[in-house]
Amino acid sequence: MEITQYLLSAQSADARVRTEAESNLRKFQEQNLPAFLLLLSVELANNEKPVESRRLAGIVLKNLLDVKDSATKKHLAQQWMAIDIAFKSQIKSWLLQTLGSSVPEARRTSAQVLAKVASIDVPQKQWPELIGHLLNNMIQRDSSADLKQSTLETLGYVCEEISHPDLQQDEVNSVLTAVIQGMNLAENSSEVRLAATRALCNALEFAQTNFENETERTYIMKMICETALSKEVEVRQAAFECLASIASMYYSVLGTYMQALFELTSNAVKGDVEPVALQAIEFWSSICEKEIELQKYKTADRNCWDSLPDFVPPHSRFIEKSRISLIPILLEILLMQEENVSQYDNIWNISMAGKKCLELVAQTVGFVIVPLVIPFVVANRVKPDWHCREAAVFALGAIIEGSTIYQDLGVLLKYCELVRELIDDLLFLMNDENNQVKETTAWTLGRIFEFLHSPVGGFSVITSDNLPRVVDILVKSVKDAPNVATKVCRAIYTLAEGYEEAGMHSSFFMPYIPRIIESLLFAASRADLDDLKLTSAAYESLNEVVRCSSSTEAPQIIRELLSVILERLSQTLERQIVSSDGKEKQADLQASLCGVLQVIIEKVSSADDLETRSIMLTQADQMMFLFLNVFSCRSSTVHEEAMLAIGALAHATGSEFGKYLPELYKYLKRGLQNFKDYQACSVTVGVVGDIVRALKYKVVPYCDGIMQILLTNLSSEALDRSVKPPIFSVIGDIALSIDENFQKYVDSAVPMMQRAAELCAQMDSNDDELLEYGSQLKCSIFEAYSGILRGTKKSKIMMPYAQLLYEFIGFVLKEKDRYHVPIGWDILLRKALAAVMDDLADLLGTNSKTLFGDLTARVTYTGACLQSDCDNLK
């Protein structure tokens, strides 16, 4: 058969041979897909074929059933469903047969392909005999260990692919029985037990009914706990993975087993090898996450969640009850850092897992963790072994967030006092000989400032006494190794954040700002940097420092800073850069600098006095010149950042901005058409709003082009849906800004709005994410109507559309009574609704009776009416 040859050639080292083979395979596929799939399955099943061709046959087969991209995936599924059932049965049969092959690779590949077929056919009820067939493999006496292993693997993969309603309860029972039998130590090889345990992990999700039954549940738990003591590391690891999953899925029934589970996992954490210990820690982390979730239900506003309390399982406070023994174990783990691994390198090892778990425990139990951890911090912070010092500082940083949220002021004040005592030690450790200790210390300082430094809230670890030392050390440490300096920048960020909008409270921080800015500017431009992590951290902190500067200090600070930033941005444009790496760096640097400029512009334009505001007018030309040059880099992040800054500039300069539009226009167009980076597209849409508001009638000559792109975007499937609501809103902005000039777009824009309104009516109300999107979409459609109704009021050109808008309003009003609108959106929706009703009534005036006289639907809406001032709803 020539397919074998093609499959082999397609893996040839010779590019020419490879390309030709690939094209032949593709031709084959296009000519007759069912036959091609069948051939591939035969190839995979054929023990006489070379492993290489069988492997590729499996991969090609798999890729014709499933890919990551969801649109293509859907297409592939439809393609498969359309194939004649005779072909499909044959293919399935070859695949099932391969599970017993003597070649391990063929078995594994076949198991994976089977799961992909199952993912399409099982939910469609097109493969009812699959589970039975697989179970038969397990029951048959003459089944080889290999067949059992690959059958269990298949079961595991299938469970991963399909979802709970796809299986009948008796099927679930059989699967669980088969899997549990596969875990039996006495009867099975280690390979079979491993496959069974892994399959169980995927099958747990289906076992809800079984877990409700105590006998069955206890039996499953017993098997897992026994398996967790197996000789083989991988099997133990898989068993602990099952336990971690059970902790998330069946939290409410764990009570009886908790004592045993706690011992089992503690021993694993303390004595087992790392992969197993990691899973054991994972068990605790999962319990924490579950309990944190339960606490959220408790604190959530009941009024908005009336249906939820029924589903909330009882809170068993496992972590709180076991904290006395649990926390010391975690603290021990913190001391197991590896040498020369920066903690921020995303390496997942036991000390990392312990750190994460400690943070979660703190969030679960809150302030009661503090007395259990502080002695460890105090005892270890000065020990000669750096592991101790690092662990001590880390432990403090890890618990800050969890132990401070939801606390009342009294507790926070006491907490501040406690931590204030440690500040000097931390500052001292910023001069430690060990780099990791310094990095962690800087991180911990950042955390402390983030959660225990709120002059506005009335509590802070910072006093006018210790502030000079804090600033002094931070400013010096910005010159430390880049990993340390990056965390120092973050600490400066959170320190400054506390002073944002703090009025009088910020006055004693203000004198330090010039020095801090100087050090951040230095850090951002250090010559010894390989990457831009420190640079962007420094600029981000600079942003925060600018934001927090008081109105009396800001003008002077900004004048000086602005010239430096403009100079730096212009330097990035002078350099000729060839390498792609260099270009990327240049773009990132420009993005950071544009970010700083955006913050400066926003700060200046929100100033109360004209003199400060005038800074912008004098610098606008140079800024725009630079932004336009930056656009030539064509990187989307920098595009986005420069766009944001331009939007702020348009807002700040008002109608003066008009002179820049001829040059800017093509970049606006490019941004609006950037579907690939939809964030950049979305930002550009917002900036168009800024510009039309700033320019009013002056924007008319550009509106044909802009409206055309916006309308094209709305009808495009390829554009991320999140961009569409902002587009509707901005259409309203345009109408409001150009008034009757908008008339010519009404007949193309309003039908789009109507289509989107119809879409809202068809949305699935069970999908929370979709509900939220729907609310956003409705708000934006109303905003578009409001803008158009107000803008074109005089011509009454909207008259013919009044009825459909009326119906849409009626639909939203009625729907509101049936479904709950996601929190936050109800207020916005109500506001937009009240406004558009007002706008419609304004258009209709005395005509409303003749128009709606025959409509009998009476719409009741509590709270939103003309009388309710929009501002009250804000």
């Binding site: 971690a244 999953s245 998330s248 899973q279 994972e282 982390s285 999962s286 997942w348 994460k356 943070e359 006018s464 006055s507 004693f508 004198p511 981000e540 925060e544 993005a591 955006q598 926003e602 109360d608 006095d609 004209l610 944001l644 939007g647 702020a648 964030q679 917002g686 709003g689 800024d690 508001r693 009013k696 809103s729 309203g732 902005d733 409001l736 008034d739 107000r790 009021k793 406004a835 007002d838 419609l840 304004d842 209709l844 005036g845 005395t846 409303s848 009776k849 709606f852 409509l855 009476r858 719409v859 009741t860 809406y861 939103a864 009416c865 003309l866 009388q867 001032d869 929009c870 501002d871």
Partner: protein
Amino acid sequence: MAPSDLRRPYKRPQLSDQQRRRELSLKRQEQSRDAELQARRLASTLLSLPPEQQPSDPEPEPSSSTDYDLRDASKLKGPAARKWFAKQLMLPEWMIDVPHRLPHDWYVLPRPAGRRCFVVSSDGTTISRQRNGTVLHRFPSALPHGSRNRDGSGPPSYSILDCIFHEMDQTYYVIDMVCWKNYSYYNCSTEFRFTWLKEKLAETKACDPPSYYHKYRFSLVPWSRCDLAGLHNAYAGEVPFIKDGILFYNKHAHYQPGNTPLALVWKDEHCSQYVIDTDSKGQVPSHQQVVLELQDDGKVTTSDDPPVVFSCLNLDFIQQSGLQSGCLLRFAIGDGGLTIVDGKLERADLHYVGTSNRARAFADTYSKIMFQSMARGSPLRIDDLVASISSSDDEADTLDVEMAV
């Protein structure tokens, strides 16, 4: 996937500064959009409401939840729009205690006696409308597009000023600006609005003496920082109009429709003829009178948001008198007076007088009742204001010292 993969970056991913910048931009854009629409709605109402309150208009049935029927849009438009409109002016609260930092955060200005109104210029005409919605004047003015004279000069636009019309010299005294040539100023601080108002007004001939295309003169009320000199000028300085107390505006406040504590009014006998409220006959009643709104549950409340409860009426009494919720009722405050504990109203000795004049749209505000009550007993005096300003200066000094230490 092992659950651990989900939480690899063990440090909670902080909201990146980029994300923050994006969100701040979105917020600003949303606020600007709201401000534009708000200004447009106000202009539209100013221009299109019927000039007078029509007698055929039924009184709106005020209730907390309203059935809204689009078929009734035109019917509702009148009263509902009036009610909405009445809340669009930024209304100062009465000063019942002196805010901190007067010289740092506040402007002071003398308040002309007269009718508070919005003035809108658009489409070749200018309309002034009082708080109750009635048109005061329809006239040509030198405001942008305020008369036919300037036809063709630039694209159509509308501007909205917040004024007091002073009868004696037939002048509109401008105190604030909501919108100028289609640009909304709702979201700008007082400091910016006042400065900008001065500049914009100077670009027109609106402050010129009246002429054929400019029927009434506009004039800016002089404002200044609320230091001792500023306060003295507003209080005792020469002004071309009859003074009715003095106004205080917080520098940082945006234009906030409705009652706001960020603008304050104060007066005494020296700077106003009408310190203590008079009754319909122009007499000062022996006991202070207040107007309160009757709620569903029998409580009588002020027009504040949220309303302050003064008392609760007996339900039998309500039924017998045929009163309905939403009614405005007049009460006299008896000798028991108002009992204030920890700054909160504890008890009021109210005596029912009757229903209020139908022309009134709103009950009294809490600050008005308190100011009137104090005016009869122990008023807040100019000396108190002066003392506050002086001590505020000291405060700033001590702060400077602290900072130096």
